[in-house]
């Protein structure tokens, strides 16, 4: 294979690989902008991935069959919202430690998905999933068409969500509230913003997007479900928020860079270069640690009250 072909493969595979990370990470951005560090993202993705699998597994005949995948996406989002609400109850209402609560939610989501999967499905089962939908016209552009315009509809939606999230965060009243409760909740409170309500809303948005990210993994990327399908992508999504400095465009860049690194690793293996498989799998996780270490100054631009519960009755 020539290097041009390899580059094409890396790019055209890397773009769809980035979608699940990007969806979850954009959701996590809203959580963190509102001041809540949601490590449970991983658990929500597991639930989303599993629930998205169910409709197409069960609907074999009937009028709903063509919509099975759509139903899957909707159920995954609904479950994400519910888990987001659960996390909000624990961390916003009960003001629990967010890091530890996040691990709790991760174990919970992972465990529930695993229990239900083993009981109702049993073993790894593949499914048709969502077919790619080449954009008419644009997909026939040589080279670029295959990289950018030959993906599943969900991938296009995800990339459109990047400017949409930017608009929502910076150009709407709700976005301003989210940023306010994450940076200066006390000031926001004195201006009549219900801090806890905005944090609840942000966690619901984040949960829905994490659920969607999980559903994307099942229906568009892996086209199957297994216990360990998510494999830490939820944690990586959280790390990408730091890497992307809490901005939608930065997160998109991070997700793309990360997926390119991963597809590069895959094509190195396919290319037959001798390299222990385990080290190749390790690579993305090492990359996250390196990126987090280098992003030191980014802390300055993070939400000031990230991880700190708001207690209206406390005086400082």
């Amino acid at each position: 294979m020539n290097s041009g072909g390899m580059l094409y493969n890396i790019l055209s595979l890397g773009v769809p690989f980035s979608v699940a990370l990007m969806l979850a990470s954009l959701g996590e951005m809203f959580n963190q902008r509102a001041g809540v560090f949601n490590l449970g993202c991983e658990g929500i993705m597991c639930m989303g991935a599993f629930l998205a699998f169910l409709p197409s597994f069960y609907l074999k005949a009937g009028p709903l069959v063509p919509y099975a995948n759509l139903i899957g996406f909707i159920i995954a989002m609904a479950a994400g919202i519910l888990l987001g609400l659960l996390f909000a109850l624990v961390t916003v209402t009960f003001r629990a430690d967010q890091g530890i609560a996040g691990i709790g939610l991760q174990l919970f989501g992972w465990g529930v998905a695993g229990v239900l999967f083993r009981h109702f499905v049993g073993g790894v089962t593949s499914l048709d999933g969502v077919a790619a939908w080449p954009v008419p016209g644009l997909s026939r552009i040589p080279y670029l068409g295959g990289i950018l315009f030959n993906h599943t509809p969900m991938a296009y939606i995800a990339f459109m969500l990047v400017p949409a999230s930017w608009y929502l965060l910076y150009k709407t009243a709700w976005g301003l509230k989210v940023r306010a409760v994450g940076t200066a909740p006390r000031a926001a409170d004195s201006m009549g913003i219900n801090v806890n309500r905005v944090r609840y809303q942000a966690l619901m948005v984040g949960g829905a997007m994490a659920g969607l990210g999980g559903a994307y993994l099942t229906l568009c990327q892996a086209r199957m479900f297994a216990d360990d399908l998510v494999a830490g992508r939820g944690f990586i999504a959280v790390a990408l928020v730091y890497f992307g400095r809490w901005s939608p465009v930065g997160i998109m860049g991070g997700a793309l860079l990360f997926s390119f690194a991963q597809t590069l690793q895959l094509s190195i293996q396919v290319g037959g270069i001798k390299f222990p498989y385990e080290f190749a799998v390790m690579l993305p996780y090492v990359l996250v640690i390196i990126v987090l270490s280098l992003a030191r100054k980014a802390r300055m631009r993070g939400p000031a009250q990230l991880g700190i519960p708001f207690n209206r009755e406390m005086r400082y």
């Binding site: 009960f94 530890i100 996040g102 465990g111 695993g114 239900l116 944690f235």
Partner: protein, 371 residues
Amino acid sequence: MNKFKLAYSTGVVLLAVFCAMAVGAIVIKAVGASPMLTYLTIVTGPVQDLFGVTEVLVRAVPLILVALGIAISFRSGIINIGAEGQILMGILAATATALALPGLPKIVLLPLVLLAGAIGGGLWAGIAGVLRAKLGVNEILSTVMLNYIAAQFYTFLLRGPMIDPGELETGSGTPQSLRLPENAWLGRLIPETRLHMGLVLALVLAVAVYFLLWRTTWGLRLRAAGAEAKAARYAGISVDRSLIVAMLFAGAFAGLAGAVEVTGVHHRAIEGISSGYGFAGIVVALFGGLHPAGIVPAAVFFGLLLVGADMTQRTAGVPANMILVLQGVIILAIVSAKMYLNNAYAQERVAKFFARFKAPSVEPMKPGGQS
């Protein structure tokens, strides 16, 4: 009033456990099993005979060790999620030491092997500690990533450099190391069971941790840095250093747990030794109130749950993953309950609420009331 405080705390914890069990029951119902039967199996299944009881204690040993380490780190203000990876590194270091020096007498080799495990886990955790203290890297994220890296590294060594040569000869290729020399085995406490001397070690260390954290200036420094970093810094405590030290200790305990597992139970490094002790240890530490006196009973309780959960598949038709669900909801319930445990305001309101039932005559009568 102190009596009331105790009753209040107990009530809050019981309520939290009840909520956790209720959520768990919903999941059990969803797979068509009976929650009562499942919970009954988990709690009573393992304690039918002596062997079951010893199995519970065998599971409790690594849980105590991991939870002690996590208590040190949490008390010092650094959240260690990486016990799972630190256990694996401890196993590798302990196994490598035992295999490299098989000729040494037991009295030298065994302590050396355990120490190697502790150092392996400690150094692995130290990475996250240094990154946090020097570069401000979020330790939760870095330890989670280190878990994945350690898991891959472990598999790599067991499939490659450290694999039992016999596995390659016979061609079965099971990823496992050579059997450790018997000089490196922990002795059995009760013959015919798997209960080993590690239990004694864990209990001794529990006492030691109590003294270190609550009876030495060193411990006070760590706890001060964890309770209020700014104030500690003002008092001249190097918070950065105490973060690193706490992480080294947390990792050392997890690594020791791995070394104890391999020298006490399995006698060789195999895949799946840890089986979730790293995460269960977090639950045990929280459930035990981050205090050795609470951690030991909590570890026995969760040892019971771990053994019991393995039985639910057979008796109640509930997959063994159920233990993850229970651990998850218990964590969520405990961290939620914390707000009410140390909340004088909530306590007062509950006290007032009960006072209404207890002594209605104390309340001043409203004029013209009682119709």
